[in-house]
């Protein structure tokens, strides 16, 4: 067992962990934060996406023991008390989900993505900071699968937020 300290949604947590524990299992099983979902457990679906030091990451592929000292934001930490994060409001307004299983990962991924600098694979001019068109959003969100196929409304919800400026979590 190894002792680690994490900031989880603004709260300091010190835990003794088996080195085999993924960050996802730690969040869900030890801290009761079941918002982050276990979809594939192989980094292929994005349902487990959280922010590690403000950057989106697949928590299923992160060993908890290797995250000592880091700042973790899960979907539970996006809202400010009762006030939803603008992305959460936009997802509701745009009907950007059906079953909702992928939604926490979509939200965390979008929150991280909006803070990311630089081009994507579909950006024509590598030197310019591209406008977040629907094509850019689809490429940048390709690590989050939605088996209900709510993609069209996910893209429009994120477009609505990116149009009013990047939102930091």
């Amino acid at each position: 067992m190894a002792e680690i300290t994490l900031q989880v949604n603004g709260e300091q947590r010190t835990l003794s962990v088996d080195p085999r524990t993924s960050l996802l299992d730690l969040l869900r099983e030890r801290l009761g934060l079941t918002g982050s979902k276990k979809g594939c457990d192989h980094g292929q679906c994005g349902a487990c996406t959280v922010l590690i030091d403000g950057r989106r990451a697949n928590s299923c592929l992160a060993l908890a023991v290797a995250q000592d000292g880091r700042d973790i934001t899960t979907v539970e930490g996006l809202a400010d008390g009762e006030r939803l994060h603008p992305l959460q409001v936009a997802f509701i307004e745009h009907d950007a989900f059906q079953c909702g299983y992928c939604t926490p990962g979509q939200l965390c991924s979008a929150a991280g993505m909006l803070g990311e600098a630089g081009p994507s694979y579909v950006t024509e001019d590598l030197l310019a900071d591209p406008e977040l068109t629907a094509e850019e959003i689809r490429e940048r969100m390709s690590g989050n699968l939605c088996r209900c196929g709510a993609y069209a409304n996910i893209v429009s919800a994120i477009s609505a937020i990116s149009a009013v400026g990047a939102v930091k979590p």
């Binding site: 980094g43 992160a62 060993l63 290797a66 630089g118 694979y121 590598l126 490429e139």
Partner: protein, 323 residues
């Protein structure tokens, strides 16, 4: 997952000194943690090298030094990479997803293992995972496996996009280890499977990649193109990194070309380059160059599509670069 001991390395020398049989180095973990969960990798000791002070991209004269622990996303977003080595930025952005690029390191990207379905399934035989057990891919599902340079023991492909661009750019891989420091010029980090497919690279026990160094960018225009089964977040069926320098007289002065998805390692297309240098730009010259490289392909029944796909990708990319 099999139990292991975890240690955080404080310096490259500290990491190397911690090496003992059964040790693996941990970078971002995006491939290794998955392989451990699948039972494909079973380290007894995990030495975490992801926080080593090897996380900067710095110019060294006309060259660029990229630390081994630089995250893939930071590499692709770096102004010097975007400005001077656009093909490298494109290749990194062609790989994986936003989340994975945030976690994965440069050295981890180079050392990721094949995604051959048999290698990743411990209930199946695999010479790469368990030498001597056989290669069911040759008779089975080899639809995205090698068409050149493979052996009767292994038809795996290397999955990295970044390594293909680094090969075309003549990048150097800097290594430290129990036997001292050395420099490998790409694609010399890698090897063909031959009779020992368990070795993807020429690295020895305890060797640790510390940096990748790029020489001055080659003259001309460059591109990285990737063909895959869906538009994003999929491994290459075939990919190409190419640099073309055409003189005012329409004659090709220089060309660098590497192909991905075709072999156990990034495939430097030296025969195609030789065919092109000194030739006038034309579709015929591009087709001859593709043929010069691909005549040695020995596709299996379910991956024969890769040969015409690679041919068309070479011609299309060169035509695009020449106009």
């Amino acid at each position: 997952m099999r139990p292991f001991e975890y240690a955080l390395a404080t310096s490259p020398a500290d990491a190397v000194s911690r090496y003992q049989p059964g040790t693996m180095y941990l970078g971002g973990g995006t491939n290794l943690v998955d392989l451990m969960r699948l039972g494909v990798a079973e380290p007894q000791y995990l030495v975490d090298v992801s926080r080593l002070p090897l996380d900067t991209v710095e110019p060294v004269g006309d060259r660029l030094r990229i630390g081994a622990a630089v995250r893939n996303s930071d590499l692709a977003a770096h102004p010097l990479v975007r400005g001077r080595y656009p093909m490298l930025a494109r290749s990194v952005l062609a790989g994986a997803s936003g989340q994975i690029r945030n976690q994965a390191t440069v050295a981890g990207n180079l050392l990721q293992r094949t995604r051959c379905p048999y290698f990743q399934d411990v209930s199946k035989a695999c010479n790469k995972r368990e030498p001597g057990t056989g290669c069911p891919a040759i008779e089975g599902d080899h639809s995205n496996l090698a068409v050149v340079g493979y052996s009767d023991e292994c038809v795996a492909t290397h999955p990295s996009d970044m390594a293909v661009a680094l090969t075309a750019l003549d990048a150097e891989v800097h290594v430290t280890g129990p036997r001292g420091d050395r420099v490998l010029q790409m694609p010399g980090l890698y090897r063909l499977p031959g009779g020992e497919p368990q070795f993807d690279t020429v690295l020895g026990p305890g060797d640790l990649i510390t940096a990748v160094e790029l020489p001055e960018p080659p003259p001309g225009v460059s591109a990285y193109r990737k063909v895959r089964e869906r538009a994003s977040f999929a491994f290459a069926l075939v990919s190409i990194a190419a640099v073309l320098d055409v003189g005012g007289d329409g004659v090709i002065r220089d060309c660098r070309m590497a192909l991905g998805g075709l072999a156990h390692m990034p495939w430097r297309a030296e025969s195609a380059e030789e065919e092109l240098i000194g030739a006038p730009v034309s579709d015929e010259a591009f087709a001859r160059a593709a043929e010069a490289e691909l005549y040695r392909a020995r596709p299996l029944p379910r991956n024969a599509y890769k040969v015409p796909l690679a041919r068309r990708l070479i011609v299309h990319t060169l035509r695009e670069l020449a106009t």
